[in-house]
């Protein structure tokens, strides 16, 4: 039903093709997982299927495409809309009306369906997606996961034969992402809908997919059944910058040690079936010792409370001390107070009650800009941090603010440019850079000023494994110069691999504060996959605080 032959596409003005010589056939009813590092052509590939490429974006396309019996090239995006439904990354940017019912109608009205037909499809779509309780709700009151479900519903109402989703969960928290993927699996299973999902966090989705396609630099690198890809192509996947699901990673590590563990497990339950005999024999693992010298506290909060003007109490009596040279991770559901807490540190918000001390001194009266010399805050969207006319000036800004002289500024800027791999972009306009480059620049600009305390709010959202690891190495390097790093993240697996101290927040309070092995074990949403795997074996003497595949292997 989907046939691509010798498909090559190049954007206008691009140096090389975004897609090169793609040959693919996808059967009706398949659930296809498409992955690849950023810039690999995943998004372009999706958009060729419904004609947005080249009709909306422009460019030259050669080769043939056939989707649901139509050629998107001659049919155009409007006609293709009723055959191929497309859901995008950011739910905010695909909603065009203001409540759920109108949103679901929008596409149907565009296709000129009769009122009776619309009424019927409305009911069936609301039921299929399980969102009939949201029917009359305004869109701006919905959570990210709910919004994304509405986006899918508004597409389903058009009765497409293929559903294409371009990183549909990258803006959602883990709970929202799980909801969306389980709905997709139901649509595929019960309605036989062909589903193509672009995703680079494989652990969320491999259990639902039939087929695994990895793109890099516009070419198909791997195209195999998922099971086979996860068994025999793991090295290649890692080599292309995509992280493996922890269970698959464990499977791979065991194979490397000469243990033949059987088929690669996709779910935690399968993992137990596959690894059971092995796991029962697990001993105390060797945890890598993390050295840190937190003699003097860098951040202290004493009984800090804060409420927003709306009257919502966002922080309730926070007591916290973070030492110099420490890396602390703050986790918690959306709206649990994580970001509100770090905003107290540089006076973006001022506590209603309690004291905040930075480097031993209570901060009062200073402006946020003045605080930036000692507290560097980087938020999720790097673009919002940038304001200078060139990459070099962006980095120099903080140094000038510190009062360094011209030579020093030049020297340090050049160091930072080299370290962050931005030297070749030094004269470019910051807003023209790619997403990954902007992120590195925002970080470099803040780290250049060497603030004693560095705070990163969701720095890894939407970036692939290879870049995540690079970022964590940069942070580690910074920390080893006795700087303090505070990291807010939803990424459980990242924390399991790299963190030491973890703080879990809920409803404006700190619920647990301690070593990651203590905080992240024996929970559900906040436990990494490997921990969920070993939890039931505690009765056999298996340590219940193992978090990563590497730790399991070291315990055998």
């Amino acid at each position: 039903m989907i046939k691509l032959e010798r498909l090559t596409f190049q954007y206008n003005g691009a140096a090389k093709p975004a897609l090169e010589d793609i040959y693919l056939r996808i059967k009706p009813g398949d659930f296809v997982l498409v992955t690849g590092p950023s810039g690999s052509g995943k998004s372009t590939f999706c958009r060729t299927l419904n004609g947005l490429v080249p009709h909306f974006h422009g460019g030259t396309l050669s080769g043939t495409i056939e989707v649901a019996g139509l050629d998107p090239l001659s049919a155009g995006a409007g006609v293709m809309a009723s055959r191929v439904g497309m859901v995008f990354q950011d739910p905010e940017n695909q909603m065009v009306t203001s409540d759920v019912e109108h949103e679901i109608c929008f596409g149907m009205e565009n296709l000129s369906l009769t009122k009776d037909l619309m009424a019927k499809r409305m009911e069936e779509t609301l039921d299929t997606m399980g969102i009939s309780h949201l029917r009359h709700r305004p869109l701006n009151e919905l959570s990210g996961g709910e919004k994304q479900k509405v986006a899918i519903a508004s597409i389903l109402a058009l009765h497409p034969q293929v559903l294409v989703l371009d990183e549909p969960t990258s803006e959602l928290d883990p709970k929202g992402a799980d909801d969306v993927f389980s709905i997709l699996s139901r649509l595929n299973d019960e309605l036989g809908l062909t589903i193509i999902v672009v995703e680079h966090r494989l652990e969320r989705i491999i259990q639902y997919a039939d087929r695994f396609i990895l793109l890099n630099e516009g070419r198909v690198i791997i195209d195999k059944p998922v099971r086979e890809a996860m068994d025999r192509h793991t090295g290649e996947i890692l080599h292309n910058g995509i992280g493996l699901p922890p269970l698959i990673n464990l499977h791979r590590l065991l194979k490397d040690k000469g243990i033949e563990p059987g088929r690669p497990p996709f779910t935690v339950k399968e993992g137990r079936q596959v690894f059971e005999t092995l796991l029962k024999k697990a001993l105390k693992p060797v945890y890598p010792v993390i050295h840190s010298n937190h003699s003097a506290p860098a951040v202290e909060m004493e009984n800090v409370s804060f409420a927003y003007p709306s009257g919502m109490a966002a922080l309730k009596g926070i007591n916290l001390s973070i030492g110099r040279g420490e890396l602390v991770v703050i986790m918690g559901r959306n709206a649990s107070g994580k970001t509100t807490l770090v905003k107290q540190l540089n006076r973006l918000l001022v506590p209603a009650k309690g004291k905040v001390k930075i480097l031993g001194k209570e901060i009062t009266g200073a402006s946020t800009a003045e605080m930036s010399a000692s507290v560097g805050l980087v938020f999720q969207n790097p673009q919002e941090h940038l304001f200078a006319d060139s990459v070099r000036e962006e980095i120099a800004f903080g140094l000038k603010n510190k009062g360094l002289d011209g030579n020093e500024i030049k020297q340090i800027s050049q160091q930072m440019l080299d370290k962050f791999g931005l030297s070749h972009l030094a004269h470019r306009y910051p807003r023209e850079l790619s997403g990954g480059e902007k992120q590195r620049l925002a970080l470099a600009a803040v780290m250049a000023g060497e603030p004693e305390i560095l705070v990163l709010d969701e720095p890894t959202r939407g970036i692939e494994d290879r870049l995540k690891i690079k970022l964590m190495h940069l942070i580690d390097d910074y920390r080893h110069r006795s700087k303090t790093v505070i990291l807010i993240t939803h990424d459980v697996e990242l924390v399991a691999r790299f963190a030491s101290r973890v703080i879990l927040m809920s409803e404006g309070r700190i619920i647990v504060d301690g070593d990651k092995h203590h905080v992240m074990s024996q929970a559900l949403m906040f436990s990494p996959q490997i921990n969920r795997l070993i939890q039931p074996y505690e009765k056999y003497g298996v340590p219940a605080d193992i978090l990563t595949a590497e730790e399991v292997v070291s315990a055998l």
């Binding site: 006609v79 439904g85 905010e92 929008f106 508004s154 973006l348 946020t368 805050l377 938020f379 941090h385």
Partner: protein
């Protein structure tokens, strides 16, 4: 600036339950009358008639924010008019300064009153528009515009932009936070520096919205926007007999005010001396009729009770 959120407020009041065409007609009638009627007393009463509507719709807190801004603007209007206008016979204050082009800088009672009258006119218009946007759902606005035979794409664009006002305000807040954290001083330093720094927020905001716009356009295209010229509509506006009556009363009211102006009932003279504060009895009768219709909107809205089977 989250308080400056100029968008629909979800409430379950009788005013919110009114037919969207009625809401729009109400606001338009007030704007038309405010533009044509010159009598300060009548204008003041028309403005006052919007106050109970704001309370009945329970949007008075949001409304007050806008009235406050309108009052500041009003003060500026009064000041400028008082200083710039040379008309009027009753001198209150004499500066003795002769301005080039404008002549002597004097303050007269007439110029002051005229300024106040202009400010009240502004207040009435802003009040009506503020209330209307708070109670008129963007989707309904779209339907009304289509009823008025505006092209669908134009109407869609208008409602789409109202949907993104709160999103943009949120973006602006986040950008300001990010840039302050980088060390950009927003609230200190001289005016020039401040303007320069604030403009960097605007640039980022522009870059953000450009990205949003492209993504939205893409998402609309993927849902067949504009692919078939004859579009259908799932929702429609149903008219009840009551709605018809209310709109008819608005038309009558407009006719009455036109008649009042034509017959010279609302005549008022500002310069050189104030004249016409005392309206003729027939002037009062027409004014009373106008106010009855305007205030009558509240009890009329409450008449619409029980289950509404017509509204889609």
């Amino acid at each position: 600036m989250p308080f400056l959120n100029f968008s629909y407020r979800e409430r379950t009041t009788a005013i919110h339950g009114l037919n969207p065409v009625v809401k729009l007609a109400w606001a338009l009638s007030i704007v038309i009358m405010a533009m044509i009627i010159d009598h300060p007393l009548v204008l003041g009463l028309i403005f006052l008639s919007t106050v109970p509507v704001a309370f009945a719709a329970r949007v008075h807190r949001e409304w007050l924010v806008f009235i406050r801004i309108a009052l500041y603007m009003g003060v500026i209007v009064v000041l400028i008019n008082a200083l710039a206008s040379t008309g009027g016979n009753h001198l209150i204050w004499q500066s003795g300064i002769n301005l080039p082009l404008l002549g002597p800088l004097n303050l007269t009672l007439e110029a002051l009153i005229y300024g106040v009258f202009m400010a009240v006119r502004l207040l009435a218009i802003i009040s009506a528009f503020a209330i209307m946007t708070f109670v008129l759902h963007p989707n309904d606005l779209l339907m009304v515009m289509l009823k008025m035979k505006l092209p669908y794409k134009t109407a869609m664009l208008t409602t789409l932009s109202t949907r993104f006002v709160p999103v943009l305000l949120e973006d602006a807040g986040r950008i300001a936070d990010a840039q302050k954290s980088r060390g950009l001083e927003m609230d200190r330093g001289n005016i020039l520096k401040r303007i320069q720094h604030r403009s960097s927020i605007l640039l980022s905001l522009l870059a953000n919205s450009l990205e949003r716009t492209i993504q939205i356009a893409e998402a609309m295209e993927a849902r067949a926007f504009g692919s078939i010229t004859k579009r259908t509509f799932f929702h429609s506006i149903a008219f009840s007999r009551l709605d018809g009556l209310i709109i008819a009363s608005f038309l009558l009211m407009l006719a009455a005010s036109f008649y009042g102006i034509a017959a010279g009932l609302f005549e008022f003279q500002y310069y050189p001396v104030l004249n016409g504060f005392l309206m003729s009895p027939s002037g009062w009768v027409v004014t009373a009729a106008i106010l009855t219709v305007l205030i009558g909107l509240i009890p009329a809205a409450r008449l619409k009770k029980g289950v509404d089977f017509d509204q889609a």
